[in-house]
């Protein structure tokens, strides 16, 4: 039993690879961070309501920096995008198959981008590289022109499998508070307020003292989302977040996500959703990247021009929705054929 385990990677706990910068993490943007804190819906400036000047100024600068919100989702990328993925390639071992083959795309501040692709096409690998958990074999990911070498403090990731990513020994409240453990800049009260707000956003108020094992699957995934929200990331990465919950719960969680994006729109929360569910991608996103079969690359990029606010019943029956869906099916069918021959060639190699 003792002998079996040495095969694990030595670095599964450590930072990625040797290229980690000495400081460990890219410079945190404390100013924008604090503006994030100030511009939450709870203490958004209201007419006639006294607001601390400090909060106002930092929010204004924030708005100046990122004047475009979600409303202008159809816009073409202007200026420098918040996230730029450049020719990303990954091979797990030198003679192993290519998992990602030259992935390139960029994401603007406040965008909701969905990435769809057939299952097993390397979506999760891509996401792990984007958030700095996995070192790419070639290419790079830049966050505001800073190369990502380790998980940046502005990103949060929601995993597909809540049973694996939640901490079952912690209560809901302590799971959600977990990301704030390292935040010395926040007082105890601020942390408590953030946690309460995040839990309320996902509709779990009253379940704070429960443990994950005592909740249903959908509720556990809500905890996972709340945990990411409590961190107040500028970029929220979602790896098939609703793949393991039932259809009805999924619709509820999708709308929660849209609400969250709306709530945090002022501070420009950028969403990057990886999914194999085409309908989900169209329903949620402003822009969709369609990936090819493995090794994955961007096969097509399209803009979703659906009116908001979106609704589960109406939006999904719009002709435009159906048109986009048919189109993506087309693209994926095409890329499936191409990828099929490529995949076959690779598997013999």
């Amino acid at each position: 039993m003792l002998g079996a385990a040495t095969e694990r990677s030595p670095d599964r706990i450590g930072k990625v690879g040797a290229r980690t910068s000495p400081a460990g993490r890219p410079t945190p943007v404390s100013a924008t961070d604090s503006s994030l804190v100030k511009s939450t819906p709870g203490d958004r400036p209201m007419p006639g309501k006294a607001v601390p000047t400090e909060g106002l100024t930092s929010m204004t600068t924030d708005l100046q920096q990122h004047p475009t919100g979600r409303s202008s989702a159809v816009q073409t990328p202007s200026g420098s995008p918040i996230l730029r993925v450049d020719e990303l390639r990954k091979r797990y071992s030198d003679d192993g198959p290519l998992v990602c083959d030259g992935l390139s795309f960029s994401v603007d501040q406040g965008d909701f981008v969905a990435i769809v692709g057939p299952s097993g096409c390397g979506k999760s690998t891509m996401l792990r590289m984007i958030c700095g958990l996995l070192e790419p074999s070639a290419g790079e990911v830049r966050l505001r022109d800073q190369k990502i070498v380790s998980p940046p403090p502005e990103m949060a990731l929601v995993f597909q499998d809540y049973t694996r990513s939640l901490y079952p020994w912690l209560s809901v409240e302590r799971n959600v508070r977990f990301p704030l453990a390292k935040r010395r800049d926040l007082s105890k009260e601020e942390k408590a307020a953030r946690v309460a707000e995040a839990i309320e956003t996902v509709g779990l108020t009253g379940f704070e003292s429960y443990h994950p094992g005592q909740l249903s699957g959908g509720m556990q995934q809500r905890v996972a989302i709340a945990r990411a929200l409590a961190f107040r990331p500028r970029i929220l990465l979602l790896d098939e977040p609703f793949a393991s919950v039932d259809a009805l719960t999924k619709e509820g969680l999708e709308d929660t996500l849209l609400d969250v994006q709306k709530q945090f729109a002022d501070s420009g929360m950028t969403m990057l959703l990886v999914t194999h569910d085409i309908d989900e991608a169209i329903y949620l996103a402003d822009r969709i990247l369609v990936l090819s079969k493995p090794p994955c690359a961007v096969a097509e990029e399209l803009v979703v021009d659906l009116p908001g606010p979106r609704s589960q019943v109406e939006t999904r029956s719009l002709p435009e929705f159906l048109r986009i869906r048919a189109h993506i099916h087309d693209v994926m069918g095409l890329s499936a054929q191409r990828g099929g021959t490529r995949g076959a060639a690779r598997s013999t190699a």
Binding site: M1, S9, P10, K182
Partner: protein, 254 residues
């Protein structure tokens, strides 16, 4: 009426065999008159005379003391080493061959060596218990630490926790159910090592009392010691099960 009666019968069923055995013991002890099978009542008489409370203080207490110290020390070392091996490949490569070799040794075989190193005092007996406890805890902790889901580690890395913090706040708690299983297995082993260590050049302890009873042909005393050990083992196991249910309730439905 019948239903209630049969449910009462069902509840008594587990007690039937022990009672029958004890009755048979008393019966054959009286009728056979064999020195090696004293009647149960004389064993109980010895229990009452010796263990309320002279020998409880002079033998049971020192035994328990060594048991507790040895068990805690062995568990602590086992958990520490196990976490280190389970979370670092380098530590694993460095330590595993040695530990693998030591683990294969029957724990009691260590006694003569321990006598040479520690003499015949309490230190030797504690060391023997430590050696017996160490490996089941170590192996389980290693496996538990290694089975920690990558996603759990990734979450902590995303939020900027350092390697040590991840080990303390994620890997260790993840391994707790496995560690606890190891600790449970180690309990009876610690008990065995406690008794065995007292059979060698002992000055006190339950094992010493047991051996004295045997060598002085005080057979009731010998059986009384077995009674004490049986009760002790059961109390310890039940107590541990209770603690485990309270502390690891979250592990049942994960």
């Amino acid at each position: 009426m019948t239903a209630r009666f049969s449910s009462l019968g069902l509840r008594l069923l587990p007690l039937a065999l022990p009672i029958a055995l004890l009755v048979a013991w008393e019966y054959f002890g009286r009728t056979l008159g064999n020195v090696y099978l004293p009647p149960l009542s004389s064993v109980f008489q010895t229990l009452k005379d010796d263990w309320f409370f002279d020998h409880t203080l002079s033998d049971l207490l020192p035994s328990l003391q060594r048991f507790v110290v040895g068990y805690l020390l062995g568990s602590t070392i086992g958990i520490g080493l196990g976490i280190a091996i389970g979370s670092s490949r380098r530590v694993a490569q460095f330590l595993e061959p040695t530990l693998e070799f030591l683990r294969a040794l029957p724990a009691v075989a260590i006694i003569p060596v321990a006598v040479l190193i520690f003499g015949l005092g309490g230190g030797m007996r504690v060391a023997v218990i430590v050696f017996g406890v160490l490996f089941p805890v170590l192996v389980n902790t290693t496996v538990g630490a290694r089975s920690c889901r990558q996603e759990r580690i990734d979450v902590a890395r995303m939020y900027g926790l350092s390697r040590l913090q991840i080990i303390r706040r994620v890997v260790l708690p993840s391994a707790l159910p496995m560690i606890s299983a190891g600790l449970r297995v180690a309990l009876p082993i610690a008990l065995i090592m406690m008794v065995v260590s007292e059979l060698v050049g002992g000055q006190n302890g339950i094992g010493f009392y047991l051996l004295t009873g045997q060598s002085l042909f005080n057979i009731p005393a010998m059986f009384a010691a077995l009674f004490i050990l049986g009760v002790l083992g059961n109390v310890i196991n039940a107590g541990y099960a209770k603690l485990e249910r309270r502390w690891l309730f979250w592990a049942n439905n994960v």
